[in-house]
Every structure is written in structure tokens, then in C-alpha cells.
Amino acid sequence: MTADLAILFSMAVPLVGFFGVWLFDKQPNLREAATLGAGAITLILTLIVFHAVGAGARPEVELFDVVSGLPIAFRAEPLGAMFATLGAGLWIVNSIYSIGYMRGHHEKHQTRFYMCFTVAIASAIGVAYSANLFTLFVFYEVLTLSTFPLVTHKGDEAARNGGRIYLGILMGTSIGLLLPAVVWTFAIAGTADFTPGGILAGKVDAAGPVLPFLLGLYAFGIGKAALMPIHPWLPNAMVAPTPVSAFLHAVAVVKAGVFSVLKIVVYIFGIDLLAISGAAGGFVWIAAVSILLASAIAMNKDNLKARLAYSTVSQLSYVTLGAMLATSMGVMGGALQIAMHALGKMTLFMCAGAIYVGAHKSLVSEMRGLGRVMPFTFGAFFIGAMSIVGLPPLGGSWPKFLLMLGAADAGQLAILGVLILSSLMNVAYLLSIPVMAFYMSPDERTDDGRVLGLDDRAPAGETRLGVKWGALKEAPLLTVAPPIATALGALLLFFFANALYDFLLPITEGGR
């Protein structure tokens, strides 16, 4: 199969899966087989594209013109090929996890759940391969709409409120800011194609107010990137079932957001134009504030999913920061962060779900000592957290390193401090969780008020807080194996980061 066709089919196959899921509404096993089958084929297709792009080709497909010479068109370049492959691969992992979670949890409307997932992944791949701003916008909106039923899955009052905020912010920013930005760009440049080196150079006054204004429209208009203050939709979306949070709000939706920001900065504005004009200078600081503020909020959240959500807001701003630094290293750091953070954060979310399914705990303060009951879950959590913090030997360390280089290149030494401070905060609020789980006893005080130390571990077999300590009581296999797999993936990516780096390198070059 040629890579051109593979692009087209990588979006069509999930939609075939959509009908497959629908068809097997009453036969859960066949239904899930449809999802997994579509996932496997999609992954192969994206890998074909990935391979072709790695060999220097730029496969493309043009469907038809919708408005005034703007076609729905796709063109794979390294950034998009990476994002699409990542999405397709993690979709499979997440589907396996969903089976365990949704069944373990006896959720209703599972068919609708899997159907919406297929549309969401198809549109995320559409965003990844989009060849022009118009196509990107179209799939961006479809992604928002297709995930709305997933966020409101539970259908209760909390889900309705969360859904309202989710749709309100994402639609509001995309229609109110992103759409005019796209049309404006088209009006200025006469084209909306993603072009290496950008399309705005020479078309706008580099020192004028239009450039930073336009950049702002994109930075805030792409609400999925969750740059503060456009972030509240993300914590509110946590009312969704955990697989939705894990895949969409750690990978597909949010990464579609920061991916779009990065792609627009690289292929519409052009790094050179931004570096010369200094238009992005202010946004570097908005991203920096976003990184620190979101981490600070995360530290105060006792609910694990809420803490992870704010951690996501913080980590997403790393990508925005990398884009706005307008240096090659910054952009590379941002691009790697998309992949590395996806694996790490997905691990954490899936662990959170496993803890919920296995032990019915959602508050961090209740997880003391739980590591001895669920060692695999918390082991995976530990690795994922280390990757997010940026500690070797895990994949997450590379983007942090590159971002620091990028900041140094841009002469923004204060940003170095921000990055270091942020990592320390990550240690405090993420690594503390597995440490508490492994080293603390579930009941931290004895009857006479003495704080229990490490020596006072509950003896095996004793029952405390309704849990029999010392005995393993892991969550169902299907909810534990996926996070372990992604955790191992984060470990592997540390060693293969160089290959990915070489693959992505063309995006920093002006020419093709």
C-alpha cells in the first residue's frame, strides 16, 4: 500500500470500526474486537506513513475544495506522522484498558462510548495529517464534538455541568478566536497551507502589532492546548470515565491542541519570523506562568484525577513554551514532549483508574500503604511519574533537557529557572504519591496519637480500614497491564529518543 492511501485509510478504518461497534451493539466481545481490530489496522497504516516520512517522502492526499480554493487535504510531515502513530498506538492500549475498566465498573452505554472513541481518533489523525489550516480546523471541531458525549457519559448533574464547560470553552475559543485567526491568516497570506518556513514571512510587518495579535488568537483560540486562562475545561472534563481522561485528556485531545500550536508556529509563522520579530516573547512568559501556576494548584488537589489534570495543564504548557521560544531546540523539545508526556501521563491516568477499580480510592490521602497491596499499579505509577518529572533513564527527561537548551539559545535564562522549579514541584506532587503508597502505613496514627513510622508497617494478614494488608489485591489484569506497558514504553523511549530526534529534525529546517 502506498503511503498516500495509508493516510486516507488511517482515517477511514476507525470510521469502519464505528459501524462495526454499532453493529455488534449486543455482543460485547465482538464489539470490542471491532475496536481492537480497527485499532491494529490503523496503527499499521500510520506506521506505513511514519516509515515513508522517515525516508524523506511527504505523502499527500487532496479530497475536494470546500471553500474558495481551500481543499480538505492531508500531507504527512514528521510532526504529524509522529502524532498520528502515537494516537493510533495508544488507542489500542487504551481500548484494552477500557474493556477492563468499563466492564469492571459496569458502565452503561458502552456501545456509544466505543463509537465516540472511533470518531475521536479519526479526527485526531485528521488533525495530525492536515495539510492546511482549514482541514486542521475542521477536524479540530469534529474532535471537540465527538468527545462531548464521552465527557457527559455518566449523564448526571455533575457530568452535565462538566460537559457544558467543556463544550463552552472549547467551542467558544475555537469559533471566537481560532476561526477568525484562520480566515485572517488566509486573507493575509493568500494561502493556508502548512509550508516549511512559514507562510507569513514578508506578508506582515514583522514589528507591527498584527503578528503578536494573530499569535495570541492561535495560542488562546486553540483551547485544547489549555494555556492558562483557557484551562478550566480540562479539570472539568475529569467527570468522564477514566479511560476517557487517560486517552483523550492526556493524549488525543490535549495533544491535538499543543500539536496544532506547534504546527502553526512552525509551518505558518515560521521560527525565523518569530525569532526576528520577537512577537512570541510575551507568550513565553504566559506559558511559564501557566507551568508554575498549574503545578501549584496540582499540589493542593487531593483528588488524584484532579491533580493529574492540573499536572497536564502544566505539562502542556511546556509544548507551548517550546514553540514560543522560537528556537530549533525549543521546537524539538516541544515536539518530543508531545510523545513523552503522552506515555507518562497516560500511565498515570490508567493507574488512577486501576486504583479506583481495584480499591475504590480516588483521594491521594487515602492511598497510604496501598502500594503494598497493588505493587504493580504503583510501580507503573512510579515510573510514569519519574518520566513526567524528567528523570533519567526515562523518556520524559529528553524534552526537558532540550527545552532548557532552547531557553538558553533564546537567551531566556530565567526560563531555565522556571523549568527547574517546575520539575521540583512535580517531584513534590507526583513522586510523593508512590512513595506514600509504598512506605507509609494506611493508618498513620496509633490510638495514643503516635505517628507510625516505617517500622510500624502493618503485619501481613492484619485487616485495617477494610483492606487486608500484605496480601496482593491488584485491580483486574486488563486495567493493570496497559499502564505497565506504557510505563515500559516510557523507559524504552529514553534509549530510542535519538532516533525520534533524527526523525523530527526536518521540522526545524526552513526548506523541505
Binding site: V66, P149, L167, G172, I175, G176, L179, P180, W184
Partner: protein, 508 residues
């Protein structure tokens, strides 16, 4: 002369002559079939007309073989062929759609009268659109308006407020017609002709500076107000929300898509082909009169729509806002703006009609058109609910629907015209549309249907069923059109673009 040469007159003469025969049919079902066939034939003629204009260019047809400017001329170019296609197409679908709904809303013996009035109304609207004679516009406008007053008043059996709504409409509509005809009188005084092309020729002839004189300017002012009333342009829209809300459901679906659009078309025709933007006063009018009216409508009416409990009233206020978009496109005074306006006339007809049809389905089963009837609609009437959601998303302007195409062209026109601020106001106003449409969609998707009380069962006390196929099929044809024309814009955007170029080029 072959019959093919008579094509421009056929969509008008056929329903005009045949409509009275509907009264002779005593049976409502027969009248329904008859109306669908006649409207369908008119649609077929309009489609052929559009195909021919696209291929061959402007068609001029002398009525009764009396050569213009003395005789009445029908002049078909791309702009009016497109509007005619919309009017006759929506009329056919609304007629097909109407039967199951209308027979629960009016007396059986009124059914033949209803269909006769319906056909006359369509004839009038098509006549307004096709004619190249300014006075003929007035004649057809009154034909369509009078029949519309009657159609709205038919809603009285369900809700007596239809009578005051129709009366209000009658007063306002007659005022509008009077203003319009005064304007025509002044033009006739100034130029001595009523043929549109001839008026144009007379206005541009003569020594430089002679035209326009203040009489011509006053004429335009009268025409603007008259058509503004007919088009329900803010703040001349007061008749419209009630007329749409209390008219029989199927009537709302038709007139919401057709009648105000035709008035906007007439405004475009007078502004650009008869007067022309080369006159300074037209330019000034566009900037200082039309722009504020358009913007005020976009915001005021949309905000009012957010607070409506009655979904039909909400849609009516939304129409006032959407007409603001069309006027805004016109007010740029550019080809791109005009193109956007024409596209939106067509597209908005498609979406509003589909939305009103979905409300009609709810009305049929539950007997209400308030928000409370929409709770949990997906669980009771899934196809109706889906139709409302899709066309609602189209109204908001979500990609892959016609609403998005409209908005895209409008935004592009705003940026091209060097008015980025207008672009931002457009998206700001469509965010209000997100709110009022989203509000109903949330009820449809996320609420449970009432399990007790009046709305727990349908009007006959049975469990609520899906609307009949005779309603679902026409509605879904329109929903399909909303999506098809959202993907393929060869027909709408390209024709509208060529039409706009021709309109801006004057009346050649």
C-alpha cells in the same frame, strides 16, 4: 416559439393558474398531493432555469411578447435563479412535509384552502424574484404577503394568538409595501420607467451630476425601509417572532426559509443593480445605515433568542440575527461581501427550514413547541432529535455544514474588506448562537424525558412515537442538503460568486 423559450414564466404561471383548482378538490389528501406535484414542477422548472442560466447567461423574457421597457420583463440571472431554486425547493419539501402536521392543526375543510394559499404564496415569492420590472415586484410581493397573512392566521385553532400575530404582520407588512410603492412612485417620477434595467440606464444617463437627485435618494430610502420591514431587519422585525411562532408548524418551515430571504434579495437587487454602489449615497447608506442595523440585529436578536422558552420564537429571533449577517455582507459593498450574503440566503433557508420541521414533528407528537417538549428527545424521537441537532449545529456554523460555509465566506469578506473588527463581531455573535442552540441540544441529549405530567405521553395519551415517515423524509432531505452543501460548494459558492460579480458589475 417553443415551450423551452417559455421556461422563465413557467414556475410562476403554473402554480398561479393551478392554485385555485386546489379549492375545488374537496379532499385534503388530494389537495396535498396536488400541491406537492405543482410545487415539484415549479422546482423542476427552477432547476432547469438555473442550469440554463449557468450555461448560457442572463435570460430575458418579455411577458406577452411586449418588449421591455414598455412590457413586463422577466430577467433571470444567477442571483435570482439561485433564490428561486431555494424557494421552490423548500416549498416542495414543506408541502410534502405538511400533511401529517397540518391536518392536526387546522380544520379538515380548510385543507384545500390551505394548499391553495400555500401555492399562491410560493408563486408570489417566485414572481418577486424572477421579475425585471420594479412595479411587478410590488404586485407579486403583495400576492405572497396576502397569502402569508392568511396562512399565519390559520394557526388560530391551535393558538388564538395566531390571529393577533397575523394582524400585526398585516399592519407591518402593508406599511412596508406602502413604503416600497412610494419609493417606486418617486423613481417613476424621476426616470419615467419601471423596468429595472431601464431605470439603471436612465439614472446613469444625462449630464454628470444630474443624478442622483434628492428625489432618487428619497426613493431609495423608502424602498430600504419597505424592504427592511418585509425582511424583518432589526429594528423592523417586531411582526416576525409571533408570526413564526403561532403560524401552523409547516407554514413556519416554509416562510422562515423563503419570505424574508426574498425581501433581502430584492434589497440586493435594488441596491446594486438599480442604483449601484457607484452612487455616493449608496455607499454612505451601506456604511452608516446598513452596517449598524446589521450589527444591532446580530447581537440584539441573538441575545433575545437565548431567553426564549418557546423554541419557535427562539428560531424566529435567530432569523432576525441571521438576516443581520446577510445585511452585513451587503454592507461591505464588495463582491466578496455580496457573495457571502447570497450564500447565506441560500444556506440559512436550508437550516432554518429543517429546524422548523423538527419543531413541527415535536409539535405533532407532544402538542407543544416550548423547550419542555424537547427533554430527552433522543430517547423518544431519535430521528427528529438528530435532525434538530444536525441543523442546529449548522446554524451555529460547525464545519462540514452549510452554516460553516456561510460564516467562512462572511469572515473572509470582512477581512478582505479591511474590516477585521467586523470579523470578530461575526464570531462573537455566533457564540451567542452556540448558547441558544446548545441550550436546546443539551435538553435533547442530556435530560430524561418527563415520566409524568402532560408531556409524558403524546397528545392522544399514547407513548411518544417517532414522527411519521411522510415528515421525516422531507426533513432529512433538508438535513442532507445542510451537509451536502457544507461539503460541496460548487453550486452555492461558485454561483453566488458569479452572481455577485454580475450584480456589482451593474445591470448589463
Amino acid at each position: 416559439m417553443t415551450i423551452a423559450d417559455q421556461l422563465p414564466v413557467l414556475p410562476i404561471i403554473l402554480p398561479l393558474v393551478l392554485a385555485p383548482f386546489a379549492i375545488l378538490l374537496r379532499n385534503g389528501r388530494a389537495a396535498h398531493v396536488f400541491a406537492v406535484v405543482v410545487c415539484g414542477a415549479a422546482f423542476a422548472f427552477c432547476a432547469m432555469l438555473l442550469a440554463r442560466v449557468t450555461a448560457e447567461g442572463v435570460i430575458s423574457y418579455a411577458l406577452g411578447d411586449w418588449a421591455p421597457p414598455i412590457g413586463i420583463e422577466y430577467r433571470v440571472d444567477l442571483a435570482n435563479a439561485l433564490v428561486m431554486l431555494l424557494v421552490s425547493g423548500v416549498a416542495t419539501l414543506a408541502a410534502a412535509f405538511s400533511y401529517a402536521s397540518i391536518r392536526t392543526e387546522i380544520d379538515d375543510r380548510q385543507l384545500p384552502l390551505f394548499y391553495a394559499a400555500f401555492m399562491i404564496c410560493m408563486t408570489g415569492l417566485l414572481g418577486v424574484t424572477v421579475t425585471g420590472d420594479a412595479f411587478n415586484v410590488f404586485v407579486f410581493l403583495e400576492i405572497s404577503s396576502l397569502s402569508t397573512y392568511a396562512l399565519v392566521a390559520l394557526g388560530a385553532r391551535v393558538d388564538r394568538r395566531a390571529l393577533t400575530a397575523a394582524f400585526n404582520y398585516l399592519v407591518m407588512g402593508t406599511l412596508g409595501a406602502t413604503f416600497f410603492v412610494i419609493g417606486l412612485g418617486l423613481i417613476y417620477q424621476a426616470t419615467g420607467t419601471l423596468n429595472m434595467a431601464d431605470i439603471r440606464a436612465q439614472l446613469s444617463a444625462g449630464p454628470p451630476g444630474a443624478m442622483p437627485n434628492s428625489m432618487v435618494e428619497a426613493a431609495f430610502a423608502f424602498i430600504l425601509v419597505g424592504m427592511g420591514l418585509k425582511a424583518a431587519a432589526f429594528p423592523m422585525h417586531l411582526w416576525m417572532p409571533n408570526a413564526y411562532a403561532y403560524a401552523p408548524s409547516a407554514v413556519s418551515a416554509f416562510i422562515a426559509a423563503a419570505s424574508t430571504k426574498v425581501a433581502v434579495y430584492v434589497l440586493i437587487r435594488f441596491t446594486f443593480t438599480i442604483f449601484g454602489s457607484d452612487f455616493d449615497f449608496i455607499d454612505a447608506m451601506l456604511t452608516y445605515v446598513l452596517t449598524p442595523i446589521a450589527l444591532a440585529g446580530m447581537f440584539f436578536a441573538s441575545i433575545v433568542a437565548v431567553f426564549q422558552e418557546d423554541v419557535k420564537r427562539m428560531l424566529a429571533y435567530s432569523s432576525v440575527g441571521q438576516i443581520g449577517y446577510m445585511l452585513l455582507g451587503i454592507s461591505f459593498g464588495t463582491e466578496a461581501g455580496l457573495q457571502a450574503s447570497l450564500i447565506h440566503i441560500f444556506n440559512h433557508g436550508l437550516m432554518k427550514s429543517a429546524l422548523f420541521m423538527a419543531v413541527a414533528c415535536v409539535m405533532l407528537r407532544l402538542g407543544v413547541h416550548t423547550c419542555s417538549g424537547f427533554h430527552g428527545l433522543t430517547k423518544r424521537m431519535p430521528f427528529t432529535a438528530a435532525a434538530f441537532i444536525f441543523s442546529g449545529l449548522s446554524l451555529v456554523g460547525v464545519p462540514l455544514t452549510v452554516g460553516f460555509v456561510s460564516k467562512w465566506y462572511l469572515l473572509q469578506a470582512a477581512f478582505d474588506a479591511g474590516r477585521p473588527w467586523a470579523g470578530f463581531l461575526i464570531v462573537a455573535s455566533s457564540l451567542i448562537a452556540v448558547v441558544y442552540v446548545g441550550r436546546v441540544i443539551e435538553l435533547i441529549l442530556l435530560r430524561d424525558p418527563p415520566s409524568e405530567g402532560l408531556l409524558a405521553n403524546d397528545v392522544d395519551g399514547n407513548p411518544v412515537r417517532e414522527a411519521p415517515l411522510s415528515m421525516l423524509i422531507p426533513m432529512w432531505v433538508l438535513v442532507g442538503a445542510n451537509i451536502y452543501f457544507g461539503l460541496r460548494t460548487d453550486l452555492t459558492a461558485e454561483i453566488a460568486g458569479r452572481a455577485a460579480a454580475a450584480l456589482m458589475g451593474g445591470a448589463q
